[in-house]
Symmetry: C2
Subunit: 420 residues, 2 copies
């Protein structure tokens, strides 16, 4: 009962009593699929009935629908131990729907396919400096990767149920990229530019074919995807040419009033500091963005892809290069100042260093922790964990594809009622 | 149907079908009371039945229970215009349950009573410098105010259904004040200290008699209470001797992982700046806390209550005093730097200046807006509104009492099933 009080409105939940027949089927499909997804040990139909309160007949009918839609498959039968047929456990299907994750970043394009079990089934990254390209040309190149991903999914017997595209910028609810400073994009209508290409995904009822989302947000979801048993609330910092953050609270992305949360790179570290690309002074990016760190390490003007730059810095630091060590210490200190502000405000107990920062975590963590220790009011009795991300540059694409898959598990009827 | 998907767990909502009889009554009470609370025009029983889908007989029985419990009252009958008895509209009761709001701050104690309609029925503030007092003595003084508030409630025919106590510090889930730096409190077990006093409130099933909460959080709820039709997501900054913030998202307080969110006063503004009471350097409080602003205005060492200090500064600024104007401009600039970080991170479109800052808003707003304009990445197309709070120093106590009242409206059965 108590659960009802957490719903959006008590009035609304009353309509549960008058649920339509079609909606009841939708609900039962979701309840059974969630039960199957919830554990590693494949449950039998009888166990699902016992756990959900549905009748065995309903569970059997629902499971039949899920198997027909390739959302669920039966585990190999257990060895026969006594009389009767042993119950077969049920698993999420690995030949059914899948999510397509795409990414346009400053110096690479990426595409990946994640199946319903969460496994990455295809992954391609193409190095290319996108800054000289127009948005239309960049997206045309991306479509080539998307087509190959689709072919790979087809070959594996998977069907793409939706796609998510990560962009390193501010994206509005319609998919318009208002500003991607490091790409030089402003007011780029991504859905309109992609409309000229053959559909990237099967249209599935209720699942939008393509969602455009901020890269740092999807990278944070990638972390959630990669550590299913990990913390459900954390700050994920993506250290690339720009610095973004994804705020995950109770397992969901916190997007802010208009979807533009997480601009950690433009949090002021020193209001009188160097001028940032955004026009303001002393933003975190001017201290801990890739250009600033390379310059401080004596590599000014070296234009490298983010992960190559991070590895170059890591190699120098490993060899004891004093300039690189100082540069990383200074970047970690600035990052620690900005992250201390976040923790003082939001009271998060886990900070994940992603993107290029993951490669550099062993040098960045100590100064970040030192600042947190000095600046967070609660640090004395409630320490903050800082650790590298589970995934590297692929986190945003995997996070996007994983989000598509999670939507299917939450509402399988959309996939089952697809045309064709 | 769609609403079900917003519930905590799809599995859980299935139990709605098997709802117990007692729970159904609880639900119906809440549905009807919410409907009555939702509009200014008192609805009739027939209108409630039409809007909620409940039968007229059920609505009548539920309304009878709510009237008997003084949660609801009948409006004066409309003038007779034709045949038959005119339907009488239903209103929230102003002689039923009420919330008690209490506050311990650095230089005052406060108590107030808010009835179910949201009206403040009693309010007392006692000026006292609490820094020299032990926590036990401070709370003994507070109990005297609470007793007078209770007497005032009794005299008005109201019953106290619960209490909320605001403390300017970090409070854990049990009500232990871990740290209140400006009071000098550390690990103060407020519930244990209050246990020696006669109960402050009627024990009501399901409503904890006393909730201890951070002052800035309750002050933010006070803003929500005072502007029922205002924005539902905002940052409320309490500028007192310390600086705290309450983050309200979609009409609810955002408390953080452990309830310690909103420590805006310790967000770094300049990492090499002056040393703060907390031990770190360059926290916002060292630039925009009361002591810093008074010192910059040439009033160093003057120990004034927060609202007196704010009025003194406002008087000086009104008279064109250059030191006061410069001090307020510098404080507003530092506040703007810190708030820019918050808006970049959380994408909030409204900032409310509360506490002493409300009195000083006309001088603080321009530099805050200038920093937001320069530092918030989205400011070009999505401006942030900065305005003074609706309530002054009373906001935390009113917000606490209002939260008690909102809990009763969400779950009236707790009040109706109280013993005695």
């Amino acid at each position: 009962m108590a659960v009802l009080w957490h719903c959006q409105g008590v009035t609304d939940t009353r309509t549960a009593g008058a649920v339509r027949q079609g909606s009841l089927r939708e609900l039962n499909l979701a309840v059974v699929l969630r039960r199957i997804a919830a554990t590693d040990r494949p449950p039998s139909r009888a166990e699902i009935a016992a756990d959900t309160g549905l009748t065995r007949a309903t569970v059997s009918a629902v499971v039949d629908d899920l198997i027909a839609g390739r959302l669920v498959t039966e585990a190999d039968p257990a060895p026969r131990t006594g009389a009767g047929r042993p119950a077969r456990g049920l698993l999420l299907g690995d030949t059914g729907p899948a999510g397509l994750g795409l990414e346009v970043n400053v110096d690479y394009l990426a595409a990946c396919v994640v199946d319903l079990t969460g496994a990455v089934r295809h992954h391609e990254v193409r190095r290319v400096d996108l800054r000289p390209l127009s948005p239309a040309d960049a997206l045309t190149d991306l479509v080539a990767l998307a087509r190959r991903a689709r072919t790979a999914a087809d070959d594996a017997g998977l069907g793409l149920a939706g796609a998510a595209l990560a962009v390193p910028g501010l994206v509005d609810a319609r998919g318009l990229v208002r500003l991607a400073p490091n790409l030089g994009w402003r007011d780029v209508d991504v859905p309109a530019l992609l409309a000229g290409h053959p559909a990237l995904t099967d249209p599935v009822d209720g699942v939008p074919p393509l969602v455009v989302e901020n890269e740092a947000n999807l990278a944070a979801l990638g972390e959630l995807h990669a550590r299913p048993g990990g913390p459900q609330s954390f700050l994920h910092v993506s250290g690339e040419i720009g610095i973004g953050a994804g705020i995950v609270l109770d397992g969901a992305l916190f997007r802010g009033s208009r979807g533009w949360s997480g601009e950690l790179g433009h949090v002021p570290v020193d209001p009188g500091g160097p001028t940032c690309r955004c026009g303001a002074r002393g933003c975190l990016e001017t201290y801990a963005g890739q250009e600033a760190v390379l310059a401080a390490a004596g590599l000014a003007g070296v234009d490298l892809p983010a992960d190559t730059a991070a590895r170059r810095l890591a190699d120098l630091a490993c060899s004891g290069d004093p300039a690189a060590l100082d540069a990383l210490h200074a970047a970690g200190t600035a990052l620690g100042v900005a992250v201390s502000g976040v923790v003082n405000l939001l009271d998060l107990d886990t900070v994940v260093l992603g993107g290029g920062y993951a490669t550099l975590a062993q040098w960045l963590c100590p100064p970040v922790l030192a600042e947190l220790d000095a600046r967070v009011l609660t640090s004395g009795w409630s320490p903050v964990t800082v650790r590298p991300a589970a995934l590297g540059a692929e986190s945003a694409a995997v996070g996007g594809a994983g989000a598509v898959v999670r939507r299917i598990i939450a509402r399988p009827s959309g996939w089952l009622s697809r045309p064709g």
